[in-house]
Structures are given as C-alpha cells and as structure tokens.
C-alpha cells in the first residue's frame, strides 16, 4: 500500500511537469484541452493518493534532497495533509474541467493561454508540495513559490483589470505573512534539533510562555493572511474581485485552505501550547472575522466581492472552531476538543466545495451576461436553467440548509459552543457564549445574504440591459454538477466523513471524534454493549437502525451526548431527514394526483395592480433587499451619505435626487489606514535623512560601523 501512495504522488508530479512543459510549447488552442485532461487526471491522482493514505492509515514520508548547511528537504504525508490534498484535488478537478471553455478568450489576445497553463500546473504542484512538506525548509520554500505563482495568476490580465493595485496588495500581504511565518518557524527551530516537523513538534512542547505566544501570534496572523482573518484580510475582497474568473475558484477553494492548513499544522499540531489564552484569541478573532465578513457580504452587490466577503466569513468560522479546539485541549477536555476540531476541519472541507461551486457559477454569469452587479441581473432562471439548479445547491449549502454540507459543519460548530460548561473559568464561558451568539448571528445573516443573491440574480425580472449569449457548456456542466453532488454527499453522509476526519483529529486532540459523534447503531446489539441498552431501544424505535444490514458503517445518525453536568442528547441525521422528506413529498404527490379532481390550470400574466406592464425599475433591487441590514448595522458601516439634489424651479420640482454613499471598510478604517499612516509617518521622518549631502552619508556609515563594533564588543 505504501508503494502505491508513493507511486501515485510521483506520477502526479510527473504529469504536472509534463503539463507545464507542454503548455509552454503547444499552440494556444491545445492548451485548453491539455488543461482539462492533464489537469483532470492529475487531480484524480492527487485524490487517489490522499485516499490511499487515509485508507492505509499510516503516514508516509520520504526525503528528497539534502541542502548543505541547511538541512534535509523531506516529504511527509499524514492524515491532516491527506484531507486537504483530497479536497484540493477535487477542486482542481472541477476547475480544470470548468476552465476549458473559458480559456477561449485567452486564445487571441495578448495573454497566451500557454502561459496560463504553465503557471497553473506549477501552482498545482506547489500546492501539493506545501501540503506534503515534512519539514520547515521545504514548507517555507514551497510556500513562497506558491504565493508568487498565485500572484502571477491573479494578475494575469494586468492591463484589463479595473483594479491593478489589487494584485500588488495581495503580493505585499503575502510577503508580510511569509515573513511572520518564517520568524515563527525560526523561533520553534531555535529550540529544536532540526527543521523537520517531528523535531519541531518536540520543541513545541517545551517552549517558554513568551516564545509560545510569539510563535502563536506570528504563525496565526501570518497564515491568517492567506486564510483571511481580521485584521490582515483587507486585501482579500479587492484581490478576489480582480482575479480572472477561471482562476478564482482555485484561489478561494485551495489557497485559502492552505492558510487554514498552516494554522492547523503550526498552531494545532506542532505548537499547540499549554494555556488557553491562545485559543481564546483565535476564538474571538474568528468570531469577529465571521461577523465582519458576512455583514459586508450581505450589503454587497457585486457577485464576486460578495463571495469574497463570504469566504472571509467561512474562514472565520473555521478559525473560531479551531480556537475552541485549542481551549478545550489545553484545559484537558479531549472529547470536546475532538468535536471542535472535527467541526473546523469539516467546515474547511465544505467551504472549499461550495465556494468553488459558487465562484464557477458567478464566473459563468459574468461571462454570459457581461455584468456581475446583482442590481442589474435578474430572471436568469429562465435563460440559464442548468446553472440555476446548481447555483441553488451552492446557495443552500452555504446557508447551512439541510440536507447539504454546510448544515452539518455549522451544526457541529455551534454544538461545540454549547459544551462550554466543562471549562474552568467563568470568563472563558462568557467568551464562549458571546462567540456562539455571534456565530448564530452570522448564520442568520448568511441566509439573508444568499437568499438575496439567488433571488436577485436568478428570480424576478431582468433589470439590466443584457442578453444571454452563451449557455453553460457541457464540460462546465459536469464540473459544477460534480461539486453540487459533493455538497449533497458531504451533507447526507456525515457519518462516513467524520471517521475519515477523525484520523487527523485523533492525533491532535487526543480523543476519538468518531466515538463521541457517531454511535454505532448498525453494529450495536443488546448483546455487545457498545451503547447503553435503554438508549439503543429508544433510538431503534425512532428508526436509527434502518438500513443496518444493507449500508456499511457505524450508522447514519450524528449524536452528541452531553456531559454529566448536562445530560442531554443532540441528534440529527441528514440522511434520514432527506429520506423522510422524499417519502412525504411522494405521499403528497400521490394523494394529490390520485385522489383529487383534476382542475384546469390557466397561466396568466403577473398581477401588478392593473398597470400595463411591470417594468424593471419597479422590481426590488439587491440594494433594497439588503438595506435593512445596512441600516441596523449602521454603526459598523458608517457610510457618508452625500445627498445631492438638482432642482429646476424650487425645492418642490425636483428632477433628480442623487445619494452618493461612501463607505470605508471597517478593517481598513480601524487597522489598515492607521497602520499605513503610521508607517508613512515614520517613513517621512526617516526620509529626512536623505537630503543628498555626501558628507552626511559618510557620517552615517561611520556611525553605523562604530555601532557594530560596539555591539560586537558587548556580545
């Protein structure tokens, strides 16, 4: 088995290299074909490798090269890596297939598709390497490659972009984050024997408090740049909006996950620490990130920007779950820690899938209508029926509506907050309660946001002056359907997903999530006492053992049993719910068609109060729908509304009322602008040193030399 993983990964890298080289030399027309097939096969290989590793259950590592004076570059595939590898492979598969028809636009203009292909395959290889890196050197080297490749892909259409600075901000922030990550690893490595992860893990157990906090803060916010936590995420909306539509699913589905992987790896696996302070910081930061993200998403009209803010929200939820995990783990409650980590991992997985789906949908909308503004869209359900169905699945999934995957991870996340009774201090419980409340608020706002998105884009009447020229191409249909089916499966089969995630969770949390979340209804009998008999009987009456012989696994119900202080049972089963729903609908359909009189159905035009026709300017706009949210949270948005009216005769005869709204993002206002201003202030101060006098420069050199000698003397 080990050999298979090895071989698959090697083949994967070979194909990536082949793809890279071929893209550079074949004509443009063939590149799309190449991307779809070669990229698809590579992704499948990646997924296979990950699956093999998870099934085998053993870590796989190998050394690559030894760099003189630095250390050994090695590769280490463990369960945590495999989970992220699998999801990266899935998203890449979908994107490779999806991009094929959209690369056509790159055939004839100045951005040859070949260059895109080269960068694409290189990034695929880099992402895989980041996830399987076995020591800090490899990790950092490949991380930097990945950042630069992402930047090159983001800035692919440089001259066509409306916001050329977006890519540069991303690059700057990536480098800043990288710097922080480097320092964090160095702090760890200073106490370790080598750069390899096992050595760092051992060192992480022995660090002093100050060093621990240093590693945590630098690592958390360093990886947080890619993941999108407040306050280092101000680059994210601008950058995502400026990214070409064929690349953005990868950016949102894979590279964002890399940031989360980094947090899990560094702060969860290598250096989790002993105190609960760090977990609390992560928890608070995550909750606030979620809230800020969804608030701006709800009031945003541009599809891509809205999805970017929503990504911030989801990243916040994952980080909050991770923070809860740290708190539970370091206060000795292994079982809640396992549940929290499971929730965080599950949500990271889910987010990739439905975010990639939504971005692909948004990309097609932009491509076929020419606009991304929800105020201009409307009525797409009539002209893009296939996309409407799939986009609806994506919206339902992200709004955490059963039976899709978002529901399961949100449920698990909120459940962990309910277990705060086991925590030691009162103020910790209060923070947990508040965070839980904030996350509940974000869940409600997320529903609002995506109801608005779907309704304003697909339903209603067309509001702008566009017309559909292209319907969803066949391969694109397959790729979005793939992701939609994944959303559904991840939602109705959580009892199979959780044991898979558990392989990574068990090692980090110290308890089995499967044991506490998935009771073995199928394998338990009154004889073999895996579950208390009365309990088993109750649940048997509810139908929890339906399908016992036919379906493999432990059962189809997720169940949380409360602690001794809180002996309640929370149970849910998306699979049975879906089954029950289907049966109910079938019964209703049967009764209505068989037992009621057939009535003639007439289709008439829309009733609009008797006016001749309902015009586009009379239908609700996205701005109007989200206005209540904007008004209620005005203190956060702090818009400047400039009202400007133009009159002809006097104030009574207006010809136009214009209200211009200027908004500065909260994070920009509170963090970016003050920091930027401070830096500029320092720079202006320092610029005073550059006055052009040669004598002064010589003096500087002399003074610096003297300082060095002095320090050397002291050391």
């Amino acid at each position: 088995m080990m050999g298979w993983t090895d071989a698959t990964l090697a083949l994967f890298f070979l194909l990536c290299a082949a793809g890279l080289v071929l893209s550079a030399i074949v004509p443009n027309r063939v590149v799309a074909f190449l991307l779809a097939w070669l990229g698809g096969i590579s992704s499948l290989l990646l997924m296979t490798a990950a699956t093999l590793q998870l099934i085998a259950g053993q870590d796989f590592d190998t050394t690559l090269w030894t760099l003189y004076g630095w250390g050994t570059l090695s590769v280490h595939v463990d369960h945590l890596s495999s989970i992220f590898l699998f999801i990266a492979g899935l998203v890449y598969l979908s994107c490779s297939l999806f991009a094929r028809d959209y690369l056509i636009q790159y055939f004839s203009n100045r951005y040859p598709a070949g260059r895109y292909g080269v960068l694409y395959f290189a990034l695929m290889a880099a992402v895989a390497l980041v996830l399987i890196a076995g020591d800090a050197l490899t990790f950092l080297l490949v991380w930097e490659c990945m950042s630069i490749l992402s930047y090159l892909l983001v800035n692919y259409e440089r001259s066509q972009q409306r916001d050329p600075a977006a890519g540069y901000i991303m690059l700057a922030m990536s480098e800043g984050g990288f710097l922080a990550i480097v320092v964090a690893f160095l702090i760890l490595a200073a106490h370790a024997s080598s750069f390899s992860f096992p050595a760092l893990r051992a060192a992480g157990g022995d660090l002093s408090d100050l060093a621990m906090w240093g590693v945590f803060v630098l690592g958390f916010f360093g990886f947080g740049v890619k993941a999108g936590v407040v306050p280092v995420n101000f680059w994210l909306p601008r950058c995502y909006t400026a990214t070409p539509p064929i690349f953005i699913p990868v950016l949102a589905g894979v590279t964002l996950n890399l940031g989360l992987y980094g947090i899990f790896r560094l702060n969860g696996d290598l250096a989790p620490g002993h105190g609960i302070g760090m977990g609390l910081v992560a928890l608070i930061v995550g909750s606030l990130t979620a809230l800020v993200g969804i608030l701006y998403a709800t009031t945003e009209n541009d599809l891509k920007t809205m999805l970017a803010h929503s990504s911030i929200e989801n990243a916040g939820i994952v980080v909050a779950g991770f923070g809860a995990f740290l708190v539970f783990r370091n206060s000795g409650n292994a079982v809640p820690a396992a549940i929290a980590l499971t929730a965080a991992l599950y949500h990271a997985v889910n987010h990739s899938v439905y975010k990639a789906l939504l971005y692909e949908g948004a990309g097609h909308i932009e491509w076929s209508t020419g606009t991304r503004d929800m105020d201009q869209l409307g009525g797409l359900i009539r002209v893009l029926p296939a996309l409407s169905v799939v986009f609806l699945v994506g919206c339902l999934a992200i709004s955490a509506v059963p039976p899709f995957n978002g529901f399961v991870s949100e449920w698990l996340t909120l459940q962990t907050f309910l277990r705060s009774a086991v925590l030691p201090f009162a103020f910790v419980k209060v923070i947990f309660a508040l965070s839980g409340a904030i996350l509940a608020l974000t869940a409600a706002l997320a529903v609002t946001c995506f109801v608005k998105t779907y309704a304003m884009s697909f339903l209603g009447i067309r509001r702008g002056a566009w017309s559909i020229s292209k319907s969803l191409p066949l391969q694109a249909r397959f790729s979005v359907a793939l992701l939609a089916v994944a959303c559904l499966l991840l939602g109705i089969l959580p009892t199979y997903v959780i044991p898979v995630l558990n392989r990574a969770v068990e090692g980090m949390a110290g308890a089995s999530a499967t044991a506490s979340l998935v009771p073995p209804f199928f394998t338990a009998t009154s004889q073999n006492q895996e579950l208390p008999p009365a309990f088993l009987q109750d649940f048997h009456n509810l139908g929890a053992q339906t399908g016992a012989g036919a379906v493999p696994g432990r059962g189809l119900v997720i169940l949380l049993r409360g602690s001794d202080q809180n002996p309640v049972v929370f149970a849910m089963s998306p699979f049975y719910s879906l089954l029950a729903l289907a049966i109910l609908l079938f019964i209703a359909w049967f009764v209505v068609t068989r037992f009621t009189r057939q009535r003639a159905v007439a289709r008439r035009e829309l009733w609009a109060g008797g006016i001749p026709r309902l015009l586009a300017e009379m239908s609700y706009t996205a701005t109007g729908f989200s206005n209540p949210v904007r008004v209620v949270f005005q203190a956060i948005f702090r818009p400047n509304i400039v009202e400007d009216t133009r009159e002809t005769v006097s104030v009574h005869f207006r010809t136009a009322i214009r209200r211009r709204r200027d908004e500065t993002h909260l994070v920009d206002r509170l963090f970016f602008h003050p920091v930027g201003d401070a830096v500029l202030w320092i720079a202006r101060g320092l610029a005073g040193m550059h006055h052009g006098k040669l004598n002064a420069y010589v003096t500087y050199s002399l003074a610096f030399f003297v300082l060095i000698l002095f320090l050397y003397r002291l050391a």
Binding site: E605, W607, G609, G610
Partner: protein, 241 residues
C-alpha cells in the same frame, strides 16, 4: 388599551338582522321610483318628459321606470307636478340575462371574496360598499370579505362608468381572477353610464367592457342593496325579475 376592548363590548351588537329578518330602520335606503299608473296619458307623458336621463317612458297612462338609468335627481319625487310612486325597499338586484345567469356554487355561500374595482366612480357607490364593513351591516358575519388581490377573488364588483384610462386595469383585473367568477355592476354609472353616458372618455357602463352577471341599480345603491346583490350571487337570495 383595554378600554377600547371594553368600550367595544359595551356598544353591544348593532348589526342588522338582514337577511334573516327584514330591516326597517329609517334612512337605510332612498327607495326607488315605481311604475305608476296615471289618470291620463298626458300626465304620464309630463312625468316622462321631466326625467333628464329618459328613465321614464310613458305608454298610455303607465309611466314605466327603468331603474338602471335613474340618477336619483328626485325630480319625479319632490316638487314634481306629477310625482311617481316611490317604495322604500332595497332589494333591486337583477340579472341582465336571466337565462344565462347561474349563481356561484354552494361552497361560496358562506365564504365569498369580493374584489371591488373603482372604474371612475364618483365616490358615493364606493362609500356605500365600504359601509358594509361597519358593525351596522357586518358582512363578515355572512361570510363575505373584501380582498386586495384578484387572484383569490370570486366576485368582481365594478363601480363607475369605466373611464378609458381605467379600462385596461379593469380588464386585467378580470383576467387575473380564476374561475368560477362573477361580475357585478353596481350603481347606475356602471349599468348605463349614468350622467356621464358614452363619450370618448367613458365606456358607458361595464357591459361594454366585461360580461356582467348581475346588475345592482341605484345612484348610489344603499349598502343593503349591495348586500342583497352579494346574497344573490351566491344563490342565497333570488334576483328580482
């Protein structure tokens, strides 16, 4: 605000007992002119000539009144040289084509939803219809409700002579109603155009625009006449001939 509730209770039940008992309170109806037999044909002719809207035709000594045209100018009533006889009832609803008229099925007898469309009415007919909501007439007690949307309406009640600007909206309202549905033209304007008649701006009555099932004459018909019309449309009362 408990005292509103208490005050309401203290007022007691003031609703009319119609249709279970005759309603005899003074002022509920202006009455209507009746066909009158005069002593001589000349007197009948004078009565007929007096009418400004030609609602009275004299045939021999009979002065025959077409209530659908009467605008209640009262010139045949007060101060007329040959006043006609007047009664003071209110059950005036007629079917314009009795052979083709069918009331709504039984299910609607106690659950009727009425859509009222103002197609240019002067305000009086609408006001009378509005009075049906007040406790003195209490049509909710009979299971009749006004709706704001034609999608759930069973009866379309039209008032006004159908001004041309409103014609399109009226037709759209009719088409937006699902079957089974009935159309009632309420008031003289809706029946024959009233004093506005037919002109470039007035269709001269609902008959010119929609198929009408029941006519409720009067200018304006008192609330009880409209109520009688609603009872006729559900079959609980019979139309007069």
């Amino acid at each position: 605000m408990a005292f509103w509730f208490w005050r309401g209770l203290r007022k007691g039940i003031r609703s009319t007992r119609y249709p279970y008992a005759p309603e005899l309170a003074p002022g509920i109806s202006p009455g209507r002119p009746l066909d009158t037999l005069f002593a001589t044909p000349e007197e009948a002719a004078i009565a007929a000539v007096n009418c400004p809207v030609d609602a009275i035709t004299a045939i021999g000594g009979h002065a025959h009144v077409d209530l659908k045209k009467c605008v209640y100018c009262e010139r045949c009533h007060f101060g007329a040289p040959n006043p006609l006889q007047w009664d003071d009832g209110f059950e005036w609803t007629q079917a314009p084509s009795p052979s083709r008229y069918k009331p709504l099925p039984n299910e609607f007898a106690r659950s009727l939803h009425v859509m009222v469309v103002d197609a240019g009415d002067c305000g009086a007919c609408l006001n009378e219809i509005r009075q049906l909501n007040n406790p003195l007439y209490n049509m909710h007690g009979l299971g009749i409700f006004f709706t704001a949307t034609p999608r759930i309406a069973d009866v379309l009640m039209v008032v006004g002579p159908v001004s041309e600007n409103m014609r399109g909206a009226l037709v759209k309202t009719y088409e937006a109603m699902p079957g089974p549905k009935r159309v009632m033209a309420v008031g003289t304007c809706a029946l024959t155009g009233g004093v506005f008649g037919r002109s470039f701006m007035s269709a001269g009555g609902v008959h010119a625009v929609l198929p009408v099932d029941l006519d409720v004459p009067g200018d304006p018909p008192p609330p009880l006449a409209v109520l009688h019309g609603l009872l006729v449309v559900t079959g609980r009362k019979a139309a007069i001939q």
